[in-house]
Symmetry: D2
Subunit: 137 residues, 4 copies
């Protein structure tokens, strides 16, 4: 699956992305890429720095699209588990997230991702397991 | 450290909690408890269900307060790593999160947490490492 | 499922357990308990301290039995993911591991475990996802 | 730091590696590489397949050397946390592990690793946090 520019634009109108400041940039062939310019409201407790849960959210959603990109149209997916590490404070927006599918085994997909700051330093890294959900009839 | 009712109320006015719908209920002696009634804006892609990143956020912030509750006044803390699992969909608000400090070793604190739905079913469980930051002079 | 004393004794003769020094003590109703008295060969690089991978191994195998204890006879299981934290050095054998099933969802089982040293201090804690494999025909 | 052929050979004589069947191949500049030909004794419960804890052990030790390779001579290191995923059964020895340091922040080092089977398929992937220990006086 490759998301078209129209599909990306439509997705980016969703309320979660608009509240946080997430933009999905590209989804194709097991990979996905997103950009986050965090809204002031999610930069707490340190002004200017997105909360760790917000970095997790952009990572999780980008990985989910990477996982879905190799599934049948109309599939859903659920995060089974995700581990995140925070090597450094996130002080320089915008942030970019790239997610890569490492392996799919049946309906289970293993994905890694990194979040980089504006200077290309890693501020979060993760690995997750997703479970693909078949399209609803 | 035990947070007073006033301190909790003041904390709960922060923009992140108000955007998501988080309320910190109690922080004392290595433990913390929070309640989340998710705002509609963070219930995406499934209406009525908070995004997995939002469940992570309430878990991470509750664990951070559990970690801080045994530190010197004015300390900060940073999440080093956190692993989350999602045993079931989150369909029944409000959600409660309880976090428990298992061990502190110097400035490193090991914490576990669970998020339960309104029927007391576990919808997320996590374990994390936090690094305490000394009070600023 | 509850493993009988005979079944436990037979399991404990396996070469992995004998090489490491693992003894499975009890398996019943979603829980499992094991004891490890580490062989000198697996205490490296610090004499007297089992390698972190050995602590992981006792935790993983104990959790697997906890997961299996609620499955049909003859089922197998595979670890999907496991996160481990090491709050303190492991200096006081024997070690005990207790594993608890938190939730089963279809063929997926979510389990937590802790490894304690002889003084009951936590030296490792983990959470894992297992996938049950149906009995072979 | 770069480990010389002599230093590698000496390390590879340690009892843990000999018991399991691990050989450290190269350590330099934040990276490390190892090969595992698992002893029959650690291939349980499925003959011919190393236990998941054994795959973890080779991954953890390889990552530790990657972390140490950028530290002062004589430093030690301790695993703080490690997350492992198992995308597929490990059926084709020998296995190779490559570990890569992603970032060092003070005495904390963030490392990723993969274990590949003889056909270059990923059978385990991990990310870990290590804490460097200063050389003993």
């Amino acid at each position: 699956m490759q998301m078209s520019a129209d599909a990306l634009a439509q997705c980016n109108e969703n309320p979660l992305y608009r509240t946080i400041g997430i933009r999905l940039d590209a989804v194709a062939d097991g990979n996905a890429h997103a950009t986050m310019t965090p809204a002031a409201a999610v930069c707490w407790p340190t002004p200017g720095q997105p909360h760790g849960g917000i970095l997790f959210t952009v990572m999780d959603t980008t990985m989910a699209f990477a996982a879905l990109s190799n599934a049948d149209d109309g599939s859903g997916c659920a995060t089974v588990d995700c581990s995140i590490q925070y090597p450094a404070p996130a002080r320089h927006a915008p942030y970019t997230c790239r997610a890569t599918t490492l392996r799919r085994s049946g309906r289970t997909v293993f994905v890694r991702a990194e979040v980089l700051d504006a200077a290309q330093a890693i501020v979060a890294l993760g690995q997750a397991t997703f479970r693909l959900l078949p399209p609803r009839a």
